[in-house]
């Protein structure tokens, strides 16, 4: 079994009003925050034959449903195999 953690954020070129609002709020609290990007955090548990296969499946899931490539990009934060 694999556990993948992915982060989905708006592409850098796209204005992120939610992130900007969070940064502004942090600055109001006197934190010197230059920028904040908001996004989604997903944890996916799934079966795959090995790590390469797991990566392939993950890419497919992102392309088909999880990520809208018009405005979003994703990063794999971690991908770990574990015994079930």
């Amino acid at each position: 079994m694999f556990l993948a953690v992915i982060a989905i954020t708006l592409r850098k070129s796209i204005l992120d009003p939610q992130g900007s609002m969070i940064a502004k709020s942090l600055r109001n609290l006197d934190f010197r925050v230059e920028d904040t990007r908001a996004g989604k955090h997903l944890e996916l548990t799934f079966r795959a034959s090995d790590e390469n296969h797991a990566r392939e499946l993950l890419q497919e899931m992102c392309a088909k449903l999880l990520v809208n490539s018009v405005t979003e990009e994703y990063r794999i934060i971690s991908l770990n195999a574990y015994e079930d």
Binding site: I14, P17, Q18, M21, K40, L65, L66, N68, V70, T71
Partner: protein, 234 residues
């Protein structure tokens, strides 16, 4: 004309459209559950507004994979009219029938009020009974309605006259003050290249009877009926 209104879990404008098409415009209209596969010989297919699947993941992203959507996509690709209103527009961009996407409103707030939109192209099957440049009063009710597409897509939309409605002032001027959600180029509605698939954020069905605050939206549905009549009597 026979129309089908697709009902997803979380759709909430389906009944309004059924009422307008059935009682105001006088079409035969059926509601079709998203898990069905047949469009029951409907000529016009409508994807209504609402919060399909709770807007989870992204608005329209999950509805786009409902079983009925395969039939809706084939129906559209065969040149038949498909209209997506609000959440329906979001579903149309998610399934690739229309380009671009709908981003959170620039204010980050849910906006529910009447706005003005200018008719940019009256030569489509959805807008025949409007005049180009005519300003309509229509309600919007959305949190994610800011149309976004890459520059080259926007250029293509402009070049081919595929922008159908733009947010504007009461006298038709495009200014930031009257762009409620921060849409690129004030876009409120676009069609596909063939002109048979329209996606729009404003709700024409909510302004189809004067007693409910306005009737500008009615003429969109009447345009579809008029074009259908022309087609069948040809």
């Amino acid at each position: 004309m026979k129309a089908a209104v697709i009902v997803f879990p979380g759709s909430n404008c389906d009944r309004d459209i059924i009422d307008v098409l059935g009682d105001v415009v006088g079409c035969s209209v059926t509601a079709i559950w998203h898990q069905d596969r047949s469009l029951q010989d409907a000529h016009l297919v409508i994807l209504p507004g609402g919060f399909s699947f709770g807007d989870y993941l992204r608005c329209g992203a999950i509805a786009r994979f409902s079983p009925i959507m395969e039939s809706v996509i084939s129906h559209a690709l065969a040149g038949n009219p498909v209209l997506g209103i609000c959440n329906g527009f979001q579903v149309l961009t998610e399934c690739g029938l229309l380009p671009g996407t709908l981003m959170p409103n620039k204010s980050l707030r849910f906006i529910c009020r009447d706005v003005h939109v200018r008719v940019e192209n009256s030569a489509t099957m959805f807008t025949t009974l409007f005049q180009k440049g005519q300003v309509l009063n229509l309600p919007i009710a959305h949190a994610d309605g800011g149309y976004y597409a890459e520059e080259e897509v926007l250029k293509e939309l402009e070049l081919k006259n595929r922008v159908i409605f733009r947010y504007c002032s009461a006298n038709g001027v495009l200014d930031e003050e009257n762009n409620p959600n921060g849409a690129r180029q004030h876009i409120a509605g676009i069609v596909n290249e063939e002109g048979n698939v329209l996606g729009m954020m404003p709700h024409p069905e909510r302004h189809s009877e004067d007693v409910l605050g306005g009737s500008d939206g009615r003429w969109l549905f009447e345009s579809l009926v008029a074009n259908w009549q022309r087609m069948v009597t040809r």
